[in-house]
Symmetry: C2
Subunit: 238 residues, 2 copies
DNA sequence: GCTGGCCAGCTGGTCTGACTAACTCAGCCA
DNA sequence: TGGCTGAGTTAGTCAGACCAGCTGGCCAGC
């Protein structure tokens, strides 16, 4: 009776289909930006029902590898530059909300990432372009009491510093962690009754960080960044 | 005719169902480890077809929030401590294979994470327990020419150092990055014809890192870790 | 009384066929 | 020429059905 020994392909079919499609995407046979065949065609091609195809596609969609372009148009493979900070951020949110990691650890992770980014930016061979970061400090000054505008410039400044490290992976993870934190913490600044002195201090800290990076003092850049973030996230009651 | 203004719930129903289930999980109304109701019951309760329920569950499953316990048993909410290194690692794999981030950036990210972990481990208030890390160095020595055994101890050593930082988030991300790298790179050690001298050097580097952490010299611990990893990943041709 | 096997019912996995709503585009009409 | 119409295609959704594996209870045989 062992004519078909069934070498343990006990995994559900939709998983196998998802894996095959995944490999087609990762191997480039379904290049980024290309449109996937319609569900019914995939259904025929794989010899499985449309339900199964849909569940496989849903998995790929959740992973951020394929995206819907319109209500009734076929899915398409995500363009490489549009790919996936969302799943990263979501994972951090889940880890936080399910109590797998404490909030302080996420803050520490952001401090570690940005500290390392500043260090790398300050010490890399090719001097990074920091005009964008400098501009953000000017925006912070110009913001005056406009906390919203200040916050935008703040966010942008930190992004530019990490970006100056030239490490795309560092940048992406930092963004994901920051987003997950901002989902957990309401903006600290808005809790302050008289934010102006705090804003002055934040501007000064940003300036110090930028200067350290410009001076190529990686150690200082890292340390200032870490301390700056730690203070920021423990703000109203330092 | 505007009796039902349809306030723009244009998102597909399975997404809305997934969001509701997600919120039930994150809010603790479906606590970790609890069993989800059967698909047919969810179908009735939400007033949607079973197809829709299944697609929503598939999304949650892909995010790693619910897991199948058996071939025919209902899904259950993942236990907090089992949650999600996989989606994290997968994301890095996709970023890498789709060319969104270069390999060197991922290596740099791991160096940044582990460097920061070593720094934190060396400078935290409460002295960390490093006996496990020390043991791993002994195992490396005992491994002799057994590259497999050496590698296991190597992996474990790095894990213990980051774990000594006390930052769970740092540890999780580091593990995910490392796994994604090991999927991209075959073990460097196996490419060497005469690995013994290299192994000696690696052991010495591990010892130096451990010593720096024990000495509380965060800066040295960080620097040694970063350089160690950079060398390791560019190994056969330094 | 206990054990073994049988059976019914529940579950997820899968398929089929059908319908709806929205998009696309060719072709028609003004 | 330019706008409109209608057919075709598509994802989204549903209902119903069947299978395979597991669970629990029941019953016959020891």
């Amino acid at each position: 009776m062992s004519s078909t020994p069934r070498p343990l392909d006990r995994r559900p079919v939709y998983e196998q289909v998802a894996d095959e499609l995944l490999e087609l995407i990762l191997s480039g046979q379904l290049p980024p930006g290309s449109v996937l065949p319609p569900e019914r065609e995939l259904s025929e091609r794989f010899g499985v029902g449309r339900t199964t195809i849909r569940e496989a596609l849903r998995a790929l969609q959740t992973k951020g590898l394929v995206v819907a372009t319109g209500p009734t148009s076929p899915l398409c493979v995500v363009a490489a530059d549009k790919l996936a900070t969302d799943p990263l951020r979501d994972t951090f949110v889940y880890l936080l909300r399910l109590g797998r990691v404490p909030l302080d650890d996420l803050i520490g992770l952001r401090a570690a990432l940005e500290g390392a980014g500043a260090l790398q930016a300050a010490t890399r061979d090719r001097r990074p372009d920091l005009t964008a970061a400098r501009d953000q400090i000017a925006f912070m000054r110009a913001a005056g009491r406009d906390l919203k505008a200040f916050d935008v410039a703040d966010i942008r400044f930190h992004l530019e510093i990490v970006r100056a490290s030239g490490n795309e992976a560092l940048t992406l993870v930092m963004l994901a962690v920051r987003d997950s934190l901002s989902k957990a913490l309401l903006s600290r600044l808005e809790a302050l009754t008289d934010p102006s002195s705090m804003l002055q201090r934040l501007i000064a800290e940003h300036e110090a960080i930028l200067q350290a990076v410009i001076d190529g003092d990686g150690e200082a850049a890292q340390h200032l960044t870490r301390e700056h973030l730690r203070r920021y996230y423990s703000m109203p009651s330092p």
